[in-house]
């Protein structure tokens, strides 16, 4: 494992026998490794698990967030290939998916390095590859900032999942199965559109609401999607999760910025400012939305309002770790977004209520 700053950690190759490069990030959740690597938001990234034992309970067909692995490679302290009855081995599966993986490296040292220096590019390479060569490969890897990775994970043609409830059209920048499941369970008829779709195409399906999905990469690089969303806001209710939240915010004229090393885990406390309740949330994002007055971290616990191109936005959710914006509602038009993952998968279920809130807003919209 080599980082762009020359940091090198040797381990045992336990995955597919290829090299891989990408942005090296870490996730602090203690369970849910299979869901994590299949989450499209990890596209283009090399995922380090801070929990040392990965693979303990094997893999199953259910525990996936998409049809294949999106992480480019996996870094672990101790990989386990346990094969429980009714399940497969984690490493067998990674190999079958063609994903390189390294075991036995001092992940804690690596995480402390990334925490202090920030997320950076890196790669995993066979031991016999000369370091200089490895370095070139890393340099060839574009930086996360300004990268449009949505194109890589969006469907080529619309997909519809029937339902007898409201007609929801999602702009699919890499939507997680858990989100689809939660919407379907609540009766939504869901159509997943390629993120190249125009506002017209979306509206032509006369949606009751537009849903902006999670996904990989830098929202700033998705100008075309932002444009599309801008056409929709005010015409139909628009909701976003994670990247979708960022796209919505940019569409109404708010800024996003790159976090030093992102939020990736299942234990971040988020405060719902409308109820004062604290939720333990699943998170997976490297960028965040700038708050009122250009503040990246907020001093207030109040549902403050600030102006957007579409009227007032109201702060609805706040991260109690670093006090960044975790969610907002648009006041003068129907729209809202959260930065974290209420659908969990993996992670705690504290925030599932947001899907119900979503349904209510639709009912009243």
């Amino acid at each position: 494992m080599l980082l762009e700053d020359g940091t090198r950690l040797d381990g045992e190759a336990v995955g597919a026998e290829r090299h891989a490069t990408g942005e090296v990030v870490f996730n602090t959740a203690m369970t849910g490794y299979q869901e994590a690597v299949t989450d499209p938001s990890y596209n283009g990234q090399i995922l380090t698990f801070t929990y040392p034992l990965i693979g303990n309970y094997g893999v199953t067909a259910e525990a996936v967030e998409s049809d294949h692995v999106h992480a480019r490679a996996v870094l672990m302290r101790e990989a386990v290939n346990e094969r429980p009855q009714g399940g497969g081995g984690w490493l067998d599966w990674l190999r079958a998916e063609g994903i390189p993986a390294v075991s036995g490296i001092d992940t804690r040292a690596l995480v402390r390095h990334l925490r202090d220096r920030g997320a950076m590019r890196g790669g995993v390479f066979p031991g016999d590859l000369p370091e200089a060569q490895a370095h070139e490969l890393i340099e060839a890897e574009p930086s996360m900032v300004g990268q449009d990775l949505a194109a890589a994970v969006t469907p080529d043609a619309p997909i519809t999942i029937e339902g007898d409830g409201p007609n929801v059209v999602a702009i699919d920048t890499g939507i997680k199965s858990s989100i689809v499941r939660n919407l379907s369970e609540r009766g939504c008829r869901l159509t997943l559109m390629p993120c190249s779709s125009s506002g017209q195409e979306v509206l032509s399906r006369n949606p009751d609401a537009v849903f902006l999905a999670n996904g990989p990469g830098d929202p700033a690089a998705l100008g075309h999607v932002v444009g599309t969303v801008r056409e929709l806001v005010g015409k139909v209710p628009v909701f976003g999760i994670c990247l979708g939240h960022q796209l919505l915010c940019r569409a109404v004229g708010l800024e996003t910025f790159k976090l030093p090393f992102g939020h990736r885990g299942a234990n971040h406390p988020v405060k719902d400012l409308s109820t004062g309740r604290i939720e333990i949330t699943a998170q997976n994002h490297g960028f965040a939305v700038v708050g009122p007055g250009g503040d990246r971290t907020l001093d207030t616990d109040e549902p403050v309002r600030w102006e957007t191109d579409f009227g007032a936005a109201e702060l609805s959710h706040l991260n109690l770790y670093d006090r960044t914006v975790e969610g907002l509602v648009l006041h003068d038009v129907c729209g809202a977004g959260v930065q974290y993952h209420p659908e969990a998968g993996p992670g705690p279920h504290d925030s599932l209520y947001l899907f119900d809130r979503f349904m209510e807003m639709l009912a009243h919209a």
């Binding site: 381990g11 203690m30 040392p52 302290r77 346990e82 001092d106 998968g345 705690p348």
Partner: protein
């Protein structure tokens, strides 16, 4: 929500003596609570009967009461102190039951005391199994099916629809006492009748068995705003059927997928809400069927618990501290996480290592006790280890136990496997042996139901034993010895552990709290020890006492904590090394740096290497640090205080004897034997009765009194030859002492600085010598001893202290025969079990003073009061014994220590103090009723006088024929009872029938030491006070008289010793400060 300003004074109740199921963890939680609530500016009133606790140190409360934890005495404290609130969720089951009782008898109402933490209804919903089941069912959760029975008849009906095996649970007994697993009809009837007896309301619950399911615990916290977080998940490696306290457990859980885990998380949250614990921590236990994933709720404890202490140490999240703040109004988000300082406590810790807790058993001390593990807790202590992987943590935990009984697996593998089908304390040794012999994971899973994942991990460890590179073995957590290298070789190979910190957040944030564990990693980018925040101050390493066990318990942790405080006072960094998660010493607040490591030479040396300390203190941790002291010194560690050689001088009989001769001090005739046959010859020289034991033992292990050659022969047969061969070597040389009959034993604690000595207290026991000093009640000041004798004792103690070159503490045990002949039984140049008791009785913190001497101060600098300035009050220490837990064990006291804990009674006069100590020990003496007396001939005269006294006090006298005769001669009315041999209705029948309220039974000689067994057993089962010495008996009579005369007064330590609590630091910030980053 802000701090509650309507409260000013809060009453905190401790958990009383250390008993199986309630140990030091409640001192840890109590101390945390006291600290923060004082910081918050509240007045704290503390009640606890256990003097060996840090929480009962005067500086941890505004007023500290060492009183029995009974409704009466706590009510007396309430009446005197008038607190506005009672926080009852930090003192274990004891405090919870007390809170319940004080609510029910109207005391709380009468004095307007509010229950904070958990209110009465919540306590009831969690503690009353029936209401709990209903609450769970209403909340849509599954609990095991069950039936309540009050007689054998309905029990047989119950068995119809539940089937065997099933679980028998008596209603309202502590720690499941009297319950158990019934696999056969025979066991079923046995358990049910036991259960009915054990239950105060003659009620048992029959419960559907989920034996073999996975057992999981979640530690949950809730605040006033109904925010709930899960602090930690704990998985029991031993499946359902072995009490969590006896199980090897691992945190976080290892074998559940995210989906399965989230189900438990959701259910745990439902449970705490349904039970309605308003604020604080709770422990929820689940059983999970491995293949179907079906979940049942087993129980919830609406309070901090053993598991929450474990969870706190495992994650760095101080549950008790935060629970205390929540109880006085704060919300989780308003409390900073003091490990990161920049984030609030309203989060769920995530960890990047594995933690293994392993129980420490003491069956070797109760040979006739049944050794299988069931639903009743039997372990006496535990060790915890942290490693980067499960295997590392497990191997470290195994070596942290300091076993002194070695396991010998059956040679026949089929036998081995059959034995594995029932869990015993040696289960893991046997599992490893089975793997070594090639038994596969499937087979072992079939036999034990242990999750294959764990068995797979064990298999890998065993594989590495066979072949594996050194580096690999060290990464698996092998000790140098197990890895087959010397320390030098390993270092030569460049293999050293790194030290990582426990930070609640898997390194996502910078950790401020210096709490570390070692781990072998591959060559890494971080310099060795990069995470350790070592300032420039000189540091002093303090070795803790490891897992609690009988003979070495909380008293030693108490001393270690004092050593740490003192080192800090004197401008050093206190560095603690210990592996016991229950303790105050392993609270990261106690020292400047905490290393959670096994107390072995190898592990300690790695810490020393990194710390480069000024020196190390080994005399506070009991025998554990002494065992390794010499090797540490040889490896170049500078030991502070009493030189190592003095330890040897005191323990080596030859050298010690010579020293005593030189000083002209008497000791009982003795001999040292290196073989059985030599023992027999030597016995003639020394003369009977003989006290025989192996050398180098603490707590009088394997010690027996022999009255004849036959006794000796049988001892050599049973104990020595009986022991495993690996132990047998260590048993020699054998020590033979002339056993001094009807001698009084005097325990002395003294301080010395190498030139001067100070005798702090000498305590004659209530029982005669022959009962281990740790098991006998003792008194301060020594009322029964004449002043010249005291002078002589002081003189001899000082002579010993100076001759041994003691710097710090010295404990000497004397035996006094006929009030004029004084013998030294033993001298321990270290802190003793009685240090906390003496400190609290005389109001001088002995351990602190000792530590100052160790760090170079002189006795003359200490402004100590004149020696033995008799305090204006009497203190009695009483031992608490675990016989109830050990089915079939004899409750007779002897030279081998058996008590798990101690209590203290303080009053103006001896009888009242003694009465308090008895009440505190849980065997409150009766005020009326009938007393049964059966004594040996030598005791008959004393017995008749006793009978007369009891008769005056209005007691009915019962006695066996011989004793009865003697008594009636005195003209005291007495009813004769049959001996067991003489047929029913005999003594035991009467006891079972509840016709006996107090029992006095002194045995004669070795033969009689076996007699009366059934009598004593019956009293133990029924919790009737049973006194086995005449001295104890007359003390009891006095106590009964005193108790009837007047209601005991309560006085706080601060009053007794004219102390003021130390000024507390100002209140902390309300809300978590804004983060530095981003």
């Amino acid at each position: 929500m802000p701090r509650r300003d309507d409260l000013e004074k809060i009453l905190i109740v401790g958990s009383g003596p250390i008993v199986i199921g309630q140990a030091a963890e409640f001192d840890y939680s109590g101390v945390q609570a006291c600290k923060v609530l004082l910081e918050e500016g509240y007045e704290i009133v503390l009640v606890n009967s256990n003097p060996a606790t840090i929480m009962t140190d005067p500086e941890f409360a505004t007023s500290t009461y060492i009183e029995p934890l009974t409704p009466d005495s706590v009510a007396a404290v309430i009446e005197k102190e008038r607190p506005q609130a009672l926080l009852g969720t930090l003192g274990g089951q004891t405090a919870l039951n007390l809170a319940k009782a004080l609510y029910e008898d109207g005391t709380l109402d009468r004095f307007g005391v509010e229950l904070i933490g958990a209110d009465y209804d919540a306590i009831l919903r969690a503690e009353d199994r029936e209401i709990f089941r209903q609450t769970m069912t209403d909340a849509g959760l599954r609990v095991p099916r069950s039936a309540i029975v009050t007689s054998m008849a309905d029990a047989d009906r119950g068995i119809q629809d539940l089937g065997l095996p099933l679980i028998v649970r008596p209603a309202f007994t502590l720690g499941g006492h009297g319950g158990g697993i019934a696999r056969t009809r025979g066991e079923f009837h046995e358990r049910v009748s036991e259960g009915l007896n054990a239950s105060p309301i003659h009620q048992v619950l029959l419960e559907e068995s989920v034996l073999g399911w996975g057992e999981f615990e979640l530690e949950v916290m809730r605040d006033r705003n109904d925010n709930v977080v899960i602090v930690c998940s704990i998985e029991n490696i031993d499946p359902m059927g072995v009490h969590t306290g006896d199980s090897v457990t691992v945190a976080p859980q290892q074998t559940l997928s995210d989906r399965q885990y989230q189900v438990l998380r959701d259910q745990a949250i439902t449970v705490i809400r349904a039970v309605g614990v308003e604020t604080g921590g709770s422990n929820v236990q689940f059983a999970v069927e491995p293949s179907s994933g079906e979940v049942v709720v087993i129980e919830m404890n609406p309070r901090v618990s053993r598991s929450s202490a474990l969870a706190s140490k495992a994650t760095g999240f101080p549950i008790a501290k935060i629970a205390a703040r929540l109880a006085v109004g704060y919300a989780l988000e308003e409390i900073p996480n003091d490990i990161t300082r920049v984030t609030p406590a309203s989060f769920e810790p995530t960890i990047d290592y594995a933690v293994v807790k392993i129980p420490r058993f003491a069956f070797e001390k109760f040979p006739d006790a049944e050794g299988s593990l069931t639903t009743q807790m039997k372990s006496v202590g535990e060790a915890m280890a942290i490693g980067r992987t499960f295997k590392q943590a497990f191997m470290k935990a195994m070596r942290s136990r300091e076993l002194d009984a070695v396991v010998e697996p059956p040679a026949d593998t089929e036998q081995l496997l059959t034995r594995l089908e029932l869990p015993y304390s040696d289960r893991y040794e046997l599992l490893f042996e089975a793997l070594r012999r090639g038994t596969g994971v499937e087979e072992l899973h079939a036999r034990t139901s242990i999750n294959p994942w764990f068995l797979g991990q064990f298999e890998q460890l065993v594989a590495a034993e066979r072949d594996g590179e050194l580096a690999h073995r060290k990464q698996l957590g092998f000790s140098d010895e197990q890895a087959g290298v010397s320390r030098e070789q390993r270092i030569a190979e460049g293999l050293r552990p790194d030290f990582k910190s426990v930070d609640t957040c898997a390194a996502e944030f910078e950790a401020q709290t210096p709490y570390y564990y070692s781990s072998y990693e591959r060559p890494s980018i971080s310099a060795r020890g990069a995470e350790v925040r070592r300032g420039s101050k000189p540091s002093v390493v303090i070795l803790g006492s490891g897992p609690n066990r009988i003979g070495q318990g909380i008293e030693f942790d108490y001393c270690c904590v004092h050593a740490a405080m003192t080192a800090r006072e004197l401008g050093r960094d206190a560095v603690m090394v210990n592996c016991n998660p229950e303790t105050v010493s392993t609270d990261y607040d106690t020292s400047d740096r905490l290393y959670f490591e096994p107390l072995t030479v190898e592990d300690v040396l790695e810490v020393v290497e990194l710390e480069q300390p000024e020196g190390m203190v080994v005399q506070f941790g009991g025998q554990t640090p002494l065992r390794i002291a010499r090797s540490l010194e040889q490896a170049g560690v500078r030991l502070l205080g009493t030189p190592v050689d003095s330890i040897d001088l005191a323990e080596d009989r030859g050298r010690f004897g010579a020293m005593l001769k030189k000083l002209g001090i008497q000791h009982p005739p003795y001999a040292v034997a290196h073989s059985a046959q030599e023992a027999v010859e030597q016995a003639k020289q020394v003369g009977f009765p003989l006290l025989v034991r192996p050398s180098y033992v603490l707590g009088g292990r394997a010690m027996e009194i022999c009255y004849s050659d036959d006794d000796l022969a049988s001892y050599l047969e049973r104990v020595i030859a009986g022991a495993g061969k690996s132990v047998r070597e260590e048993m020699y040389p054998l020590l033979l002492d002339r056993f001094l009959e009807n001698a009084v034993e005097i325990d002395v604690d003294a301080l010395a600085d190498g030139e001067q000595a100070y005798v702090a207290g000498n305590m004659p026991p209530v029982e005669e010598a022959g009962v281990h000093s740790g098991d006998s009640a003792c008194v301060l000041p020594p009322l029964s001893i004449g002043s010249d004798m005291l002078e002589q004792i002081r003189a001899q103690t000082k002579a010993l202290a100076l001759e041994l070159g003691v710097i710090g503490l010295l404990n000497v045990q004397f035996a006094l025969v006929d009030n004029d002949r004084l013998y030294v039984i033993e001298a321990n140049p270290r802190a003793s079990r009685t240090v906390p008791f003496v400190s609290k009785a005389i109001g001088i913190p002995l351990a602190k003073v000792a530590c100052r001497l160790i760090l170079g101060q002189r006795l003359s600098d200490q402004q100590l009061p004149p020696e033995e300035e008799t305090p204006g009050h009497v203190s009695v220490k009483e031992a608490v014994l675990p016989f109830q837990r050990f089915h079939g064990s004899d409750s007779l006291l002897g030279p081998e220590m058996k008590s798990t804990g101690e209590v203290m009674g303080i009053a103006d006069d001896f009888p009242t103090a003694f009465a308090k100590s008895q009440a505190a020990a849980g065997v409150a003496l009766p005020h009326e009723g009938s007393v049964f007396i059966s004594v040996c001939d030598t005791d008959k005269p004393a017995a008749t006088q006793l009978a007369a006294r009891m008769h005056e006090l209005g007691f009915r006298i019962l006695a066996t024929s011989g004793t009865a005769q003697a008594i009636s001669h005195m003209g005291v009315p007495v009813q004769k009872l049959n001996k067991i041999g003489e047929g029913s209705p005999h003594v035991v029948d009467c006891i079972l029938a509840g016709d006996v309220d107090l029992l006095i039974n002194t045995p004669v000689g070795i033969s009689a030491r076996a007699d009366g067994w059934e009598i004593r057993r019956a009293t133990v089962e029924h919790g009737i006070p049973c006194i086995t010495t005449m001295a104890g008996a007359s003390a009891a009579a006095g106590a009964i008289a005193a108790a009837r005369a007047s209601r005991p007064q309560v006085r706080s330590l601060q009053e007794l010793h004219g102390l003021r609590p130390e000024p507390q630091p100002s209140k902390p910030k309300r809300r978590a400060p804004k983060p530095a980053k981003a």
